[in-house]
């Protein structure tokens, strides 16, 4: 009875200790580690040995592991930042070259800096979110949602500036829905699936309700563009749904 009580107490403390691991590590191995600790406690109890020595050894050994994993994680961060910064620089080459080739593409230095920051923030968002889960579907879903969101935001800003139709800023509400949904879902796959489906639905609704005010050939191109975005958001939602189902298996 006393051993059971001590075992329960040690398991509770061990679960608290595991919280000190970096989140990605904890989410990946926390459950397995807690299970292994339970197995070791049971093995010791079954052979009539006390748990104090075992708990002391495991706790000390785990603390060393916690320090090591946190140091490893801290060392990885500058690498991620550098990688994202370089990729963003590579992507910036596209508008930079285009501004030299395409007529009427006259961005000033400030515009390039803003675009670079957009690329960088999007890249860091991807790196931060994709680390949360290791399933390919989740990572692909995050990538697709960010690319589609980025492209929608970008094209909305450009078209609003070019056409002088401020009502087109309504399209940005799709991104607002995405942001709020992602926060409410706390980046968990099931919630993100619902969020992406909602974004697709909101975009489809705005496309139908909001008059484009464009000539018919332009309106057709816009409708095709909206269809592509709706398909991308829906596909991203399906990927998150796949990831959430995979996690249940």
């Amino acid at each position: 009875m006393a051993a059971d009580l001590a075992g329960r107490r040690y398991r509770t403390w061990y679960a608290m200790l595991l919280r000190l691991y970096p989140r990605p590590f904890r989410e990946r191995f926390g459950e397995g580690m807690a299970q292994t600790f339970r197995d070791l406690c049971r093995e010791h109890s079954d052979t009539g040995r006390g748990l104090f020595g075992l708990a002391l050894w495991i706790f000390a050994e785990t603390v060393v592991g916690i320090v090591r994993e946190n140091i490893t994680r801290m060392n990885q961060l500058p690498k991620t930042i550098l990688r994202v910064a370089l990729v963003s620089l590579g992507l910036l080459m596209a508008p930079l070259v285009a501004s030299r080739v395409v007529n009427d593409w006259n961005w000033n230095a400030g515009a390039f800096v803003r675009v670079y920051l957009l690329f960088f923030v999007t890249g860091m968002l991807y790196a931060a979110i994709a680390k949360k889960m290791r399933t390919w579907a989740y990572k692909a879903g995050v990538g697709m949602a960010l690319v589609a969101g980025f492209a929608l935001g970008w094209s909305t800003m450009v078209q609003t500036a070019d056409s002088g139709h401020p009502e087109r800023l309504w399209y940005l509400s799709v991104l607002v829905v995405g942001f709020i949904g992602a926060c409410l879902a706390r980046l968990k796959a099931p919630g993100l699936a619902v969020t992406l489906f909602a974004m697709a639905a909101v975009l489809a609704l705005i496309s139908v309700v909001l008059p484009s005010g464009a000539p018919s050939d332009m309106a057709l191109r816009m409708a095709i563009g909206h269809g592509v975005f709706v398909a991308l958001f829906t596909a991203s939602g399906l990927l998150f749904r796949h990831a959430s189902l995979a996690a249940l298996r």
């Binding site: 590590f25 397995g32 580690m33 299970q35 292994t36 070791l40 495991i58 592991g65 916690i66």
Partner: protein, 115 residues
């Protein structure tokens, strides 16, 4: 530690023991721990911190991967994540064992001939 697609010997003792434990089949964390203890005749005792830390790095290096989550028929009714060797993991283990054989051959030659 080996990098993905590039297996470099020597491996750390923990990594070698985990590879050895998984060489005969899929195991969960506690199963690996017990197999390591048995393989080393009780000389190597690995705690969860070392075990899962090493496994994390091995998974990143592509040496092992998760298999599935199922109940161990010899234990309780809890579902456990099983781990298995990858092709790269098996190659790394074989390369490490070849290296050990080479070291042992040199050492034995020196002991016998005093070179």
């Amino acid at each position: 530690m080996a990098k993905k697609n590039r297996v470099e010997a020597p491996l750390t003792p923990a990594v070698l023991h985990i590879l050895l434990a998984l060489s005969t089949g899929e195991r969960h964390g506690y199963g690996i721990m017990k197999q390591v203890e048995a393989d080393s005749q009780g000389k190597v005792k690995m705690g969860p911190g070392t075990l899962y830390g090493s496994m994390g790095r091995m998974m990143e290096a592509g040496l092992i991967r998760e298999s599935d989550k199922r109940v161990d028929p010899e234990m309780d009714d809890e579902r456990r994540i099983y781990y298995k060797l990858t092709g790269m993991g098996r190659s790394a283990l074989e390369a490490e064992l070849r290296r050990y054989r080479g070291v042992v051959a040199v050492a034995e030659g020196r002991l016998v001939y005093g070179r």
